[in-house]
Every structure is written in structure tokens, then in C-alpha cells.
């Protein structure tokens, strides 16, 4: 469908994927985030994927300093930030070099031609100017714009230094995209004003450059058409755009509000988990206390101390920090105190690729502690789902008196998507009760390890007269919690703790099969690959393939019906952003099941297209 405006045809498109790439100093993350907001406000469903280097400011123009922001928005459900960009906005030669291969054949390439200077070409290892390569023109729709010069022209006479002028050019690109995708400009102009409220001269400059980009689209004759992506059919409601880390923080703050109890976060900064701490620090008014500890060990230690004191305690980290916390997790298991440990997975081992995503902490989450120390493990499936997962993890921890490990990953943590704001009555009921009465021998004694039918022990907190007791890392007597070296008692306690964690299965919903209940092949995913795998399943089903999909939110305990579901398919296929950890786990848990695998460990989410190809081969 297309309509005619004054000068340009307006074409309707269902889904678009755009990638902005430039130097880490070029403001690509800001450009991407701002454009995301515009599309969210226009009612599109969307998903984003920021991809930036570990260096804060790599040398300008260098290949390893390229920073990118991809977003996909559409009129239909958007499950991932997209496999291949339809539009690539490249601000310099290095950005072009590292990203061009991803651009869809025939896609639109918008290039800041002004940045293609000899020295920049050299830094990007180009022998000749790629813009002069005839293949470029024949493979893509190339739009060359000297954004440097146009930005300078727009800001002539403003008195800004040339460095300050150069920093505005990302707003030129943004203005151009607003024009191309027919977005109203007023909200953006207002947003610029707000953003630079303290420096009105920059607000004015950026607004000018933004407008220059917009007008350029209209007048330059370089574009034959504009596009319009209609609002999506998202469920009615109020929406906001959230990243995974923000949603996690929001989930915990919501728990404080639902229970009226203090939520305590003890944490130490680490990419890509840091924002959870930063965001929760802003939630003081909601009953959140944050404590930036001296290291990860102290982060979880402070949380366990706070849990002993009756707070709803959590700690957030990424792989290297999780490794440091493992001795502490053992203590949380044996003291049976409620605690949520959030692990935002990233590329490992060791420092690995801190800004890139991975799903390789699964086995550590399940088994990475000394001794027999099981704990429930949950994984969030999308940025917005981090909200629900955080609430669920805290609910399980406090109900069952156990530490709970919540897995997210760098892709979810930084990526964003629309979050339908729930009304309070859609939230789970959460009540936290402390033991206030003596519970043994006709109410004359308190036994901290006297369990109920579900094997849950009571939670008595300091300040409660008559229930004074000690907890600690030494094995406890099964009743009094006093130190016990009795081997039989130890065995009993090990088995009891394990059984208690197994009992949590009563709160684990059965997996739902997407597609036919039995068939040729079952895709099994967990955590942040949900969108890609579901997208692949949809594509395969649309092509008439007998492929179904289950997604695991619960890794321990596994859902009751999972074994039966796995057994209902001829083949089980597990795609993961790791070397095959879930596949390994399923083999151990369900003898006879031997999943096929598809593993990517390149720091990027799985592409729907690639997965469809792999599954088709396996069929």
C-alpha cells in the first residue's frame, strides 16, 4: 500500500530493522535509544540490541571502537531485534567495514560520507574508498550524506567549537530517520530540551541539527519514498519501554511495595549487571535499601546478613562475580535464608567479553557450589520478563526459605522492549511472615529447624524476644540447629534440603508446547534466546514443518511434564549461546533423550534465519 504526499510516496511496511553504527564517541547509543522511544510512542512493538565495545573510548575511527545499536520495530509482534538490518546508518569507515556484511541484500545504506577521509580509511584498513566501489551501489541502496559538513553548516555562527559541533552529528542522522519513517518531530524536540536543560546552547544546537537532518530528507532528492510502520496490535494498556536490568530493579522494588518490607540489595558493580544497582538506588522511596559493597563476596554477604535481619535480600552480579559468591551461596543454602542472586551472564571464562552476551553460566548456576547445595534456578526470557522473573524469584525465596538464582544475560539486560504496565491486582500476592512464637514443646522452646509439611523452616528475626538462635555454616542438628557432627544427621540434612528444593516444583508451571503436542522435532530453549527460537519455530511452522517449541523458565526444579513432552518428539533440538550446557543437563536428567545442538558463542544472540536453516537440515 502506498500513498502520495506532496513530494514523496509513503510506503507501509510491517517490520523494519535499523542499525546505527559509529565511533564509541559518536552517540550511537543515544541515537538508537531516542529513535526507539519515537517508535514506542507510535505504538510499535519493538526490540533493541545495543552492542558496544568494552573500552569506554577506544581511539576514534578504530575498528575495535565501533559502537552499534540495532532496533526492530513493527506492526506485529517483534520477538528479536532482527537478524539483518534493512537500514544501516554508518557514521565512519570503521563502522561500515565491521557492519556492512550484516546488511540485507538490497537494504538501505546511509553513510556519513564526510567521515571517509584518508586517515579514517586508513584506520579502518581500507586500501581504497569503499564508497567508490561499484559493487556497493549494485548490492545496496546507497545514500551518501556528508553529515559532517551539513552539521557544520547548520551550526554556523553559533559559536560552538568544532569539537562540540562534531558531537552533534548523530542528531542529524536521527532527524533523517524521523523523516524517513514519518515520525512526529515535536516530542523529540521536547526531549532534546529536557535532556540538555542545564546547557541550553547544546539543546538549541542539537535541535537545529536534528531539524537539518529532517529537512534534508525532504529536500535532498536522494529519497524517492518515505515509510510508515503502523501501530502494532499489542494488547490494550499502558506501556513503557524497559531494559532487562531496569525491569529487574523494578521487579524488586515492586516486591518491597507488595510486602511492605525492606528490599535490600548488596552489590558490586560489574558489566552488564551494574544498572540493577544503579536503578535500585533510585527506588529509596519504595522501601529499597542499596549497599555498594567492597566486592562481590561482601555484596552477597551483606545480603545474607540483611536476610537474617528480616529484609527481602538480593544481590546482583555477572559471571566473575558469581564465581566469587559461590562460597557464600553455600552458606545461604545451609542457613536456609531467603535470598535472590541475579546473574547477568556475559562472555566468559574469566573477564572474557564483558559487553557481549552469553548463556554459559547455566551449569555454574545449577552446580557451581561446594558440597551438596541445590537451589532453585529461574531464567528470564525477555527484557520485560525480567520484571516478572524478579518477583517470582523473590516469592519462591521467601516462601521456601532458600536462596534462588535468577539468570538473565547481557542481551536481555541492555536490550529493551515495551512493557505493559500491570495494574496492582495483576501482580502476584506476596506475604512475608516472620516466626514470632515458640514452636516446640508446647510453646516453651524455639526450634529454628523445625520444618512444616513442605520442609520449610521458620524465619525468626533479631528483635523477637524468646526466639534467640544461632545460624551458621556448620552442619546443623535437624531440629535445634545447633552444631552437629553426627554423620547420620548430616545425611538427613543433605537429603532434606534437596527434597525441599525438589518440593518447589509445586510452584513450577508445566511447560506449554508451542505447536503440535507431538511431532518431528521439538525446539527447547531457556533464558534470553526465547525470542529467536520462538521466531524460528513460527517460521518453520509457517513453512509447514512439524516443529514445536518449549521454553524453560525453570531450570531447577524442571517442570513436572517436561520428560513426557521431550518423549513425544522424534528429535529434540537445543539451540544455545554456549557450548551445549542445557543439552548436557537434559541428557543427565532424562536418560534416553539425546538432543541435537546448535551453539553460537560469538557474543551475539542467535539469528532466526540461521536457526531455521539448521533445524531444516536436521529434519
Amino acid at each position: 500500500m502506498s500513498t502520495q504526499t506532496a513530494k514523496h510516496k509513503v510506503e507501509q511496511v510491517e517490520t523494519v530493522t535499523i542499525r546505527f553504527v559509529g565511533d564509541s564517541g559518536d552517540g550511537m547509543q543515544l541515537t538508537g535509544t531516542e529513535f526507539t522511544k519515537a517508535n514506542a510512542l507510535a505504538g510499535n512493538d519493538l526490540a533493541t540490541f545495543p552492542d558496544y565495545p568494552a573500552e569506554i573510548r577506544a581511539p576514534a575511527g578504530s575498528l575495535f571502537g565501533v559502537s552499534g545499536f540495532q532496533l526492530s520495530f513493527g506492526a506485529n509482534e517483534v520477538l528479536t531485534p532482527g537478524d539483518q538490518p534493512d537500514v544501516l546508518v554508518a557514521m565512519n569507515p570503521a563502522a561500515l567495514k565491521t557492519n556492512l556484511a550484516d546488511l540485507r541484500h538490497g537494504g538501505m545504506l546511509i553513510v556519513n560520507a564526510g567521515a571517509f577521509t584518508e586517515s579514517n580509511l586508513e584506520k579502518a584498513n581500507y586500501k581504497s574508498n569503499p564508497l567508490e566501489d561499484p559493487a556497493l551501489q549494485s548490492n545496496y541502496r546507497v545514500v551518501l550524506v556528508d553529515m559532517n559538513k551539513l552539521t557544520e553548516a547548520a551550526l554556523e555562527g553559533t559559536g560552538l567549537s568544532s569539537k562540540e559541533v562534531a558531537r552533534c552529528k548523530n542528531f542529524f542522522a536521527l532527524g533523517l530517520m524521523y523523516w524517513l519513517y514519518s515520525r512526529p518531530i515535536d516530542p523529540q524536540l521536547a526531549s532534546i530540551k529536557r535532556k540538555f536543560a542545564k546547557k541550553p546552547e547544546f539543546a538549541e544546537a542539537n535541535a537545529k541539527v536534528f531539524m537539518a537532518g529532517h529537512v534534508f530528507g525532504e529536500t535532498s532528492e536522494l529519497f524517492h519514498e518515505r515509510y510508515q510502520v503502523p501501530a502494532s496490535k499489542l494488547a490494550p494498556g499502558t506501556y513503557r519501554n524497559v531494559t532487562g536490568n531496569f525491569a529487574t530493579a523494578l521487579g524488586f522494588a515492586t516486591v518491597a511495595q507488595l510486602t511492605g518490607r525492606t528490599v535490600f540489595l548488596g552489590s558490586y558493580p560489574i558489566t552488564p549487571a551494574t544498572e540493577i544497582l544503579q536503578e535500585m538506588a533510585k527506588f529509596k522511596e519504595y522501601g529499597v535499601v542499596t549497599y555498594q559493597a567492597e566486592d562481590e563476596i561482601a555484596g552477597i554477604g551483606s545480603a545474607i546478613g540483611a536476610a537474617f535481619g528480616g529484609a527481602l535480600a538480593c544481590t546482583s552480579t555477572s559471571g566473575p562475580g558469581l564465581a566469587l559468591k559461590s562460597e557464600m551461596m553455600g552458606l545461604a543454602v545451609i542457613t536456609e535464608l531467603p535470598l535472590v542472586i541475579v546473574d547477568v551472564q556475559r562472555g566468559g571464562p574469566s573477564t572474557g567479553m564483558p559487553t557481549k552476551t552469553e548463556q554459559a553460566d547455566l551449569l555454574q548456576a545449577l552446580f557451581g557450589r561446594h558440597g551438596e547445595s541445590p537451589m532453585p534456578v529461574i531464567a528470564a526470557q525477555s527484557a520485560a520478563d525480567c520484571f516478572w522473573a524478579a518477583i517470582e524469584a523473590m516469592k519462591i525465596a521467601t516462601k521456601w526459605m532458600t536462596p534462588v538464582l535468577l539468570l538473565t544475560d547481557g542481551y536481555l539486560a541492555n536490550g529493551s522492549e515495551p512493557f505493559r504496565v500491570p495494574s496492582p491486582d495483576e501482580l502476584p500476592k506476596l506475604t512475608v511472615k516472620y516466626q514470632t512464637e515458640k514452636n516446640y514443646a508446647n510453646g516453651t522452646q524455639y526450634m529454628p529447624y523445625l520444618r512444616d509439611a513442605k520442609l520449610i523452616r521458620p524465619w525468626a528475626i533479631p528483635g523477637t524476644a524468646g526466639l534467640e538462635h544461632r545460624v551458621g555454616g556448620l552442619e546443623k542438628d535437624a531440629l535445634s540447629g545447633m552444631v552437629s557432627y553426627d554423620g547420620n544427621n548430616h545425611e538427613k540434612m543433605v537429603l532434606t534440603r534437596a527434597q525441599k528444593v525438589r518440593n518447589v516444583v509445586e510452584d513450577v508451571p508445566d511447560v506449554e508446547v508451542f505447536g503440535e503436542k507431538r511431532g518431528e522435532l521439538l525446539l527447547v530453549s531457556w533464558g534470553g534466546t526465547f525470542g529467536s527460537v520462538r521466531g524460528a519455530a513460527e517460521a518453520l511452522q509457517a513453512a509447514g514443518k512439524k516443529v514445536s517449541h518449549v521454553h524453560l523458565r525453570w531450570l531447577n526444579p524442571l517442570p513436572k511434564n517436561l520428560g513426557e513432552v521431550l518423549g513425544s518428539f522424534k528429535k529434540v533440538f537445543v539451540p544455545e549461546v554456549n557450548g551445549g550446557q542445557l543439552a548436557f543437563y537434559l541428557r543427565g536428567m532424562y536418560p534416553g533423550v539425546d538432543p541435537l545442538q546448535y551453539n553460537r558463542i560469538n557474543g551475539k544472540p542467535i539469528k532466526i534465519h540461521d536457526l531455521v536453516a539448521k533445524v531444516s537440515e536436521a529434519l
Binding site: 525492606t262 546478613g305 535481619g309 496492582p424
Partner: protein
């Protein structure tokens, strides 16, 4: 303070030492200095004016760290070196509790060195009592960070090449607002130090020289033996001149030329009591506290015991809750619907 703990309203029960005994018999070796420390703690607590259920003992790992099991309070026996981290989370979230940290020299200063200095610098109101036997007791006799240079132990059969920490210096350097030293066999004095520690609001470090008769017997006889005591100990008492020795004839004076402390004898070279440094632990500037703490390492000087420093500063938990209370007091604060929706929303019909 708006915390989720109970506030104390009822009058304080009258406690005796027995109220603080858990009924579990301590399992330290016969003659261990730890007995004396627990004895003094249990004797002191009835007079500090805090309800038994509002007192929490947190410990790490080591002989000394078994302490909480023997106390009839709330207690956590945690991980080697990490007690300050648990105590910090507990104290920040429940400021109304009185939190004690019971630790050893290895526990606090080796594996826990990082947590130790940060607990001191933050000025959380926690009372850290370090049992210093200059050896690893529980693991049966290896050097600790306070063992003397060249010390022969099971892990250093040819003598240790490591210089030791001076714990009060370390605590002062880390910013502790209360720093003191006591000796296991000087029970009455230790009781006084512990009482002052209990009453201090802020990061509190008490080093107790503790004899380990099994692995490091006699580590402190140089100052505890009757014959040496008067010459070897310098009792620091608030507002009193720093005198020591037989008949209190010796004193500590500031040598202004060299900027050091020196030992002088009353009546010699015209020295009178007016020349002697008067002890004042409440000096904001820690320089003199540092000088006094440093004496323990200097030949020819007595070892100071008592309170080196006792100054008042806002605590970390107070400041934390001031911020929280201020945030909660803002108009419209703390509404669930506002939290969920935030500022930038859009609506789909």
C-alpha cells in the same frame, strides 16, 4: 527511624550474666584466653542497656569465631574472614540492633582484610572484637598476619619472612572511630574497654591479646608477667597523664623537635608531671593515636592498652536512613502505581 524492625518501648529487663549464656558449653582448649573474653562480654552486656533480643553476634571462622554459639542472643557463625560483610548488611537494614563482630587475627586481617578495612572506614555502628593470639588456632598453628617476623610455625619451619600488621594502626588508618586494646588476663580492664566499646556509636575495633596455650603459648608474657607488667604496659586513661612503670615514675612526652614520643622519668632532667602527655582519645585528629599505637613496635617503649581513639561521627546507617526517610517523605512518594508506570508511557487502546 522507619525500619521494618520492632521498636523497643517496654522497660529493659534486669539482666544477669546468666541471661547471656546459651547453655552450650564452650569447647575451647583448657586455659584458652577465649574463656576470659566471653566471660567479660557476658558480664558487661547486662549493663549496656540493650535488650537481649536486639543484640546480634556475627563471627567468621576460627576458634574465636565459635563465640556466637555460646551466647544467648541472635547469632551468625559465617565464613572465614567475611563476618563484617554480614554484619554490615544486617546493620544497614536494621539500625536498631546492636551488632558485634567476633573475629580472630587470621580471620579479620588475612582472608578478611578487605572487609575489615571497609567496615572500619564506613563507620557503621558495629563492635568488632579481634582475638589476637598471633597464630592460626583452628587450623593448628600456622603464622598469622600478626605473628612476629622470623616466627617459626608449622607453615614457616625456617621462620616467617613476613612483617606483621600493627592492628590498631591498621584500624586507625582505615578510619575506625573507636580503637582500643585489652588483654585476656586483665579482666577488669577488658570489661571497661568492652563497656566503652558497647557505648560507642560507630566503627569500633577492640584488639584483645589472647593467649593460645596450645599453639602459641606465652605470646604475651612479656607484658602479662607480674614482674614485667608495670614496665611493659602503658594504661591509657582518658584525661590522665600517660604514666607507667614502678610507682608510675615513667611517662610519655612529646619530643617536639623530632615529632616523636619519648619515655621520660619524673624527677630526672627537670621532668615533672606537667611535661607528660595527657591522654585524650576524643581528639578528632588521629595523629597522636597513631603515635601511641605505633609504640608497640618500638624497642624501649611500653605497650599501650586502653582506648586509643573514641570520636563521634555520623554513622553510615544513619546517613543511609536519612536519605531513605527523605525520599519517603516527598509528596506522593512510594505509590505502587507510580512506581510501575514511571514517566514515559504510552497507551494502546
Amino acid at each position: 527511624m522507619s525500619t521494618n524492625g520492632q521498636t523497643v518501648t517496654a522497660a529493659l529487663p534486669v539482666y544477669t550474666k546468666k541471661d547471656f549464656e546459651s547453655g552450650v558449653d564452650p569447647r575451647w582448649c583448657p586455659g584458652c584466653g577465649d574463656y576470659s573474653i566471653i566471660n567479660q562480654i557476658q558480664k558487661t552486656l547486662p549493663s549496656v542497656g540493650v535488650k537481649r533480643e536486639n543484640i546480634v553476634f556475627v563471627s567468621g571462622i576460627g576458634c574465636s569465631s565459635r563465640f556466637p554459639y555460646y551466647m544467648n542472643n541472635y547469632g551468625m557463625h559465617t565464613l572465614h574472614g567475611r563476618a563484617p560483610s554480614f554484619a554490615s548488611g544486617l546493620k544497614v537494614s536494621r539500625p536498631e540492633l546492636q551488632v558485634w563482630i567476633m573475629t580472630g587475627d587470621g580471620d579479620a586481617l588475612a582472608i578478611g582484610g578487605n572487609h575489615f578495612i571497609h567496615a572500619m572506614r564506613r563507620n557503621l555502628d558495629m563492635k568488632l572484637v579481634m582475638f589476637n593470639n598471633r597464630i592460626y588456632g583452628l587450623t593448628k598453628g600456622q603464622v598469622s598476619p600478626t605473628s612476629e617476623l622470623h616466627k617459626k610455625t608449622k607453615s614457616t619451619p625456617d621462620g616467617s619472612p613476613d612483617y606483621p600488621f600493627n592492628p590498631p594502626l591498621l584500624a586507625l588508618g582505615a578510619g575506625a572511630t573507636f580503637v582500643a586494646r585489652a588483654i585476656d588476663v586483665e579482666g577488669v580492664h577488658m570489661g571497661g574497654v568492652l563497656k566503652a566499646a558497647a557505648e560507642h556509636k560507630g566503627s569500633t575495633f577492640v584488639e584483645v591479646f589472647q593467649n593460645c596455650p596450645v599453639f602459641n603459648d606465652g605470646a604475651y608474657t612479656f607484658i602479662t608477667e607480674k614482674a614485667n607488667k608495670a614496665e611493659a604496659q602503658l594504661r591509657m586513661e582518658q584525661g590522665k597523664p600517660l604514666l607507667f612503670g614502678k610507682d608510675n615514675k615513667k611517662g610519655i612526652r612529646i619530643d617536639h623537635q623530632r615529632g616523636e614520643l619519648e619515655v621520660v622519668v619524673l624527677g630526672e632532667n627537670g621532668v615533672t608531671e606537667k611535661d607528660i602527655l595527657v591522654h585524650d582519645a576524643t581528639r578528632e585528629d588521629p595523629t597522636i593515636a597513631f603515635m601511641l599505637a605505633g609504640l608497640a613496635d618500638k624497642a624501649g617503649f611500653p605497650t599501650p592498652i586502653g582506648v586509643f581513639r573514641n570520636v563521634q561521627k555520623p554513622t553510615c546507617e544513619e546517613m543511609t536512613w536519612e536519605m531513605i526517610d527523605a525520599a519517603k517523605a516527598k509528596p506522593g512518594a512510594g505509590q505502587l502505581t507510580k512506581l510501575l508506570a514511571g514517566n514515559d508511557t504510552w497507551t494502546i487502546k
